[in-house]
Amino acid sequence: MKPYFQEREKKMLVAAEQSKPSIKITDHIYAGNSANMRNGDTKIQVERFSFRYGANKVLKDVSLNVRAREVTSIIGPSGCGKSTLLRCFNRMNDLIAGTRADGNILIEGQDIYDPRVDVVELRKKVGMVFQKPNPFPKTIFDNIAYGLRINGIRQKSEIIQRVEQSLRDSALWEEVKDRLTDSGLSLSGGQQQRLCVARALAIQPEIVLMDEPASALDPIATAKLEELIVRLKEKYTIVIVTHNMQQAARISDKTAFLMQGEMVEFGVTKDIFTKPTKKITEEYITGRFG
């Protein structure tokens, strides 16, 4: 694996940074003054953001605003860069060699691609649920406790309490409370995915990213997960990638339609689905391609 930043890019960024008046990075940014963030305040601000894998530019000047405690969905044909965009919000793409980001992503006003940003802290604040359920090959309990432990929580009683809380929050508690020491892999696909949600929630992030979280699930498990997402909106800001138009329409407040790496249309979900401004959006949501 490559270091998080290619040396050259790091230098460029540092140089660019020095020409700006420097902002003082204080802890409050990540300690979360978010508790007093009102619903509807801008949580994630994407400004003319581009991203490439080597020479392959997959995001082109994308801009959008994600508001606090809303569900924002990203839709678009497969390969258009939905996952890439989502994985930029917690800098998961840093793990891939030879990538490059231009433009800004601000989370609560802080540029997350600033070289001084601690990605580990960033990811504690921006949780993620992946497309394919990926529980750790450990017990159900340890799947959640791991995140707590690496976040410095040592007290057994607190770990136990927070494992239970996050399993309740992810609507899995009733199904697993008697088998917490079973392997996480022994659960059904839908349960595994809710375990992954619980794992993300346990460390109390402010934003939860979900990449087609229902794509490997049956309709009943999907319905449960959707219900869960809508409920989570009370506490969390959620960005969800989905290829399922009905799902986007059902659960999200805002919808972003991405095509070939460009933001075609972004707005209130109801408007996008009832009166899209672009013809291509209409064609896509009515299923004429994609």
Binding site: M1, K2, P3, N90, M92, L95, A97, V120, E121, R123, K124, G127, M128, F130, K132, N134, P135, F136, P137, K138, Y146, G147, R149, I150, N151, L185, C196, R199, A200, A202, I203
Partner: protein, 295 residues
């Protein structure tokens, strides 16, 4: 026509397999017939002797145990550490490619060469003499490439989704490796280590080259001893610097004696060595199956 060829090759193949198995079976049967009656309690508790009826493998199996434990203690941390570095931390450049190619090549170097290296480096230059430590260091070098390669394989087999999951809850790289990747790879790593050990246990050539003695009528200083006065229990690593012999060398020595009685001793020793190797390989196979995961 093609069908006939096909059939001919099939029979040649079966014949080749059967031939190997039959030869092996005959050898094992022969050894067991000769050696089995010799496998008494005394055989395990007696030192070698000039009289075949009284000779035993005490110093040999204790020496083997010493060598194996010391080799494991040296190889496991070094091998796993090197593998983690190469697999998880090292930048991918020409320098690391060069290291990788060399490790792969080292795994194929004949073991006598390691013996010569051990003789020059450990026995002579570092003045370890023909000690347990010198033998273990030499064997550790010999199996290190195997441990590194198999550990890297094991780490690579852990799906990236597990790493991503760890990073996504705010793990640092070391937290992801130590908390998730290593435990997930544990079974495969252990399998590799056991196979490396079962290779080391049968090695004769490098130890002979080192000059390991064949007639040792005493044991290395025991690591734990009890005394009647304070502090009652004593720990000592002095045994590491004592001379040693091991099972394959003892067997090799007996086989080269003219008396028929020593051949029987050798057969009995071979049975012991075979059983240990079988157990190790069995454990490796068992672990491999047990830890096969469907992620």
């Amino acid at each position: 026509m093609i069908k006939i060829l096909d059939r001919i090759f099939k029979y040649i193949g079966i014949g080749a397999v059967l031939l190997g198995l039959i030869v092996l079976a005959v050898l094992v049967l022969d050894v067991v017939r000769d050696g089995f009656p010799r496998l008494t309690w005394d055989f395990f508790t007696s030192y070698p002797s000039s009289k075949p009826e009284q000779a035993g493998i005490l110093s040999a199996w204790v020496g083997t145990l010493w060598i194996m434990l010391t080799t494991a203690a040296l190889t496991i941390p070094l091998g796993i550490g090197a593998a983690i570095y190469l697999e998880e931390y090292a930048p991918k450049n020409r320098w690391t490619d060069f290291i990788e190619i060399n490790i792969a090549n080292l795994a194929g170097v004949p073991s006598v060469v390691y013996g010569i290296l051990g003789l020059g480096l450990f026995v002579r230059a570092l003045h370890m003499d023909r000690s347990v430590l010198a033998g273990s260091c030499t064997l550790a070098l010999l199996v290190l490439p195997i441990v590194i390669l198999s550990t890297r394989e094991a780490l690579r087999a852990v799906p990236s989704s597990i790493r991503e999951a760890a990073y996504a809850v705010g793990a640092t790289r070391w937290q992801a490796i130590s908390g998730q990747v290593l435990p997930a790879a544990f079974g495969n790593i252990l399998t590799g280590i056991i196979l490396a050990m079962s290779r080391a246990i049968g090695e004769t050539a490098p130890l002979v080259t080192l000059g390991a003695l064949t007639y040792i009528p005493f044991l290395p200083t025991p690591p734990v001893s009890v005394s009647p006065s304070f502090p009652y229990v004593n720990f000592s690593l002095k045994g590491l610097l004592d001379p040693f012999t091991v099972l394959p060398i003892q067997i090799f020595n007996w086989v080269s004696r003219p008396q028929k009685g020593f051949l029987i001793c050798a057969a009995a020793g071979i049975i012991v060595l075979l059983i240990i190797t079988l157990c190790l390989n069995g454990a490796a196979i068992y672990l491999r199956h047990k830890h096969q995961k469907n992620w």
